[in-house]
């Protein structure tokens, strides 16, 4: 591993292209054939918990060399640059077979609002996250509040210098091992809908926090259920103003719907390459020729769309409801590549125990979340109908 020196850091911060070239060199095997990244290259972890830990070590390794600090402000552990630098990092990591570290999926959703609405919290939390020392869970959904997020009931009551949080969150990605939960909670009356919500950071190790891992159908603990039993949280953990949580959430969603899409496209393109290598010579694959072409097209469209959105966000533009178009492309690509892998492997996917079949099965189940998380496919279509096409209301 090499480290970024000060002169190079200035060059990379000014030019995402120069940063991309340098990363490509850094992340590939060395000329003498040795590989500082061997531990992570096309690594498969048997459990979600081991995956998180392995990804945390990769982040620590990258941070030590300075490689994952671009795109973040200097006050928060960064070396300058913008959103495009982060997109470049994920693209190069995925292309090098190192994957996109799972903790960064949530990091990319939650750090833009932290930086924008709570710079002090960002300065405290981000450097640790970039070093892989901690990662976070997003506490939005609840048992009675899925697509209808504004009906959530987890309460935070102000008491002196603290908020007292009580209630429950569900479907928290990375939840089983997350160090903190960034939660949307009700600070207004039960009927206040989106006007009475606030966003707050709750540390996992506070008294009254209980985490129950939730296994998805693949058997992996990809999700968690979080219980808050009168948890006292310092009031300075609020992100934005009290009762202004909806605006923070809307700000956050444009990042969630674009960077997540880009990260997903980068990983899927590498997995598509794997699928071709694994199966191009399998008997019967010829019948699926057109499907391979369609999946490739889905992936390139997803890249084109999310890259455009990331460039616009980096330039300070507001994306708003148009982000639904990215989300629809994401869902189509994720579903299509995993359905293709399933159909190519056939009986082996359904019943076989080869590592490749096992891997695709696990990812197939996870891919089903693409049209659900971050606003379901149906919600995206309704947002486009209401706010982009301006159709008369239902």
């Amino acid at each position: 591993m090499s480290s970024v020196n000060a002169a190079d850091a200035a060059t990379y911060a000014a030019s995402p292209e120069a940063y991309a070239l340098a990363l490509r060199k850094e992340l590939g095997p060395l000329v003498d054939g040795s590989d500082p990244y061997a531990e992570w290259r096309d690594a498969r972890y048997p459990t979600a918990e081991e995956q998180s830990a392995g990804d945390g070590r990769l982040l620590a390794h990258l941070y030590a060399g300075g490689w994952n600090r671009f795109g973040w402000p200097e006050g928060a552990g960064g070396l300058g640059g913008d959103l495009r630098h982060r997109a470049v990092l994920y693209d190069e990591l995925a292309a090098a077979g190192l994957g996109v570290p799972q903790p960064t999926l949530v990091l990319e959703t939650l750090s833009p609002p932290l930086l924008h609405f709570a710079p002090d919290l960002a300065a405290m939390m981000l450097p640790r996250a970039l070093q892989g020392l901690e990662w976070w869970g997003q506490g939005f959904s609840e048992p009675e509040a899925g697509s209808d997020l504004a009906s959530l009931r987890c309460r935070a009551r102000r008491d002196g210098d603290s908020y007292v949080v009580s209630g429950q969150k569900l479907w928290t990605s990375q939840g089983p091992t997350a160090a903190r939960f960034i939660c949307l909670v009700r600070t207004g009356t039960p009927e206040s809908r989106h006007r009475g919500l606030s966003m707050i950071v709750v540390d996992r190790d506070l008294p009254g926090v209980t985490v129950r891992p939730v296994a998805i159908a693949s058997g992996r603990n990809d999700l968690a259920e979080i219980f808050f039993d009168d948890v006292r949280v310092p009031a300075d953990r609020l992100i934005g103003q009290e009762n202004a949580g909806w605006a923070v959430a809307m700000y956050l969603l444009q990042f969630e719907r674009s960077m997540y899409a880009w990260q997903s496209a980068a990983v899927c393109l590498h997995r598509f390459d794997n699928l071709l290598t694994e199966t191009a010579s399998r008997p019967g694959v010829g019948a699926l020729t057109g499907r391979f072409g369609e999946v490739y097209s889905d992936l390139i469209t997803l890249r084109a769309r999310s890259a455009q959105t990331i460039r616009r966000l980096a330039a300070g533009e507001n994306i708003g409801p148009e982000a639904g178009v990215d989300k629809i492309a994401l869902a189509r690509a994720e579903l299509a590549i995993h359905d293709l892998a399933r159909d190519v492997y056939g009986a082996e996917f359904a019943l076989g125990d080869s590592p490749a079949a096992q891997h695709w099965r696990e990812e197939w189940w996870y891919s089903r979340s693409a049209p659900i998380l971050g606003g379901s496919a149906e919600v995206q279509r309704t947002i486009i109908a209401d706010h982009v096409l301006g159709l008369p209301k239902e």
Binding site: Y296, S297, T301, G324, L391
Partner: protein
């Protein structure tokens, strides 16, 4: 990326819309008066997008596509008004002395006077279209041998222009369907208040935007990229995406117009049939998906194509 500001783009767009609405035959000459070469020089990608999207929106038949091809093939020294046949389909009647026949891997010519009785009005799907079909065997044509890259780039340019035109047709069809479903009442309220209808429209809109962004990204690559193989692949992908989008948009347009969408007196069929022929020219989305898949399965690693 663009040297044209939003205001200029809006002005150019409405000037083009006027031109196409008036008399499509005069568009090519009128572009000179509009100072089109300056717009192309400022930003060739946006110029192509504007020109062909507006042609698509207007359902206009011109020979702009022929001029894209003849410009790309300028090194061959043929007159720039030469009629082009795209896998045997021409954009209109033959008016040049020589006809150029263009396909994915072959370019050839035939003298127009050898075509007596071999040019047929296309009376198929797009009945009011100006299309002609040539009934001709490859051995009856004179094979040209431009450098391989020149042919590949020409096909890519033509595919991207076609794809941009399909985006324009789709955009107009979505607008038509939004207008219809917002006005037409059933059960005492506009159709567009029903969730199934709204979601169909949102899907059509997203499909159109997916095509638009893919076409734009491919045009940027065709302008900036030196690797001809990457340009070929990207142009195939973009035309695939546009062709797939028109399939979604037109299915929804017909469905959401109800029985009216099937009639000759409604405009819907004009969008459906024009988009259908544009999809076929130089490879339908189905054929292109197959071709892309063949190359991948033959050992071609999927290129990332898009960078940040």
């Amino acid at each position: 990326m663009t040297a044209l500001d939003d205001e200029t783009i809006t002005t150019v767009r409405s000037s083009l819309a006027e031109l196409f609405a008036k008399d499509p035959d005069t568009v090519i000459d009128a572009l000179d008066d509009l100072g089109w070469s300056d717009i192309v020089a400022a930003d060739s990608v946006t110029a192509t997008v504007l020109l062909f999207e507006e042609q698509g929106r207007a359902l206009a038949s011109t020979r702009l596509l022929d001029s894209v091809v003849m410009k790309a093939l300028a090194p061959l020294g043929l007159p720039d008004t030469t009629n082009v046949a795209y896998d045997s389909i021409t954009l209109g009647p033959i008016t040049s002395d020589t006809v150029l026949l263009l396909s994915e891997d072959r370019v050839s010519t035939v003298p127009a006077d050898a075509l007596a009785g071999r040019v047929h009005d296309a009376t198929g799907f797009d009945r009011s279209g100006p299309w002609r079909r040539l009934d001709l065997a490859a051995r009856e044509t004179t094979l040209l041998s431009p450098e391989a890259d020149l042919l590949a780039r020409t096909v890519a340019d033509a595919r991207l222009a076609l794809a941009a035109e399909i985006v324009g047709v789709c955009e107009a069809a979505v607008q038509l369907t939004v207008a219809h479903t917002s006005l037409r009442q059933q059960y005492g309220r506009p159709l567009a208040t029903f969730q199934a209808v709204r979601h169909g429209l949102a899907e059509s809109y997203a499909a159109t935007e997916h095509a638009r962004v893919t076409v734009t990204a491919a045009l940027v690559a065709a302008r900036d990229e030196s690797d001809c193989e990457a340009i070929t692949t990207f142009a195939r992908l973009a035309k695939h995406r546009a062709g797939a989008a028109q399939a979604i948009v037109m299915r929804n347009a017909v469905q959401l117009h109800g029985a009216m969408g099937l009639t000759l007196e409604s405009d819907v069929h004009r969008y459906v049939s024009r988009a259908g022929v544009l999809d076929i020219l130089l490879g339908s989305h189905v054929a292109l998906a197959h071709r892309l898949g063949e190359d991948l399965l033959a050992g071609g690693s999927p290129r990332a194509l898009v960078a940040i």
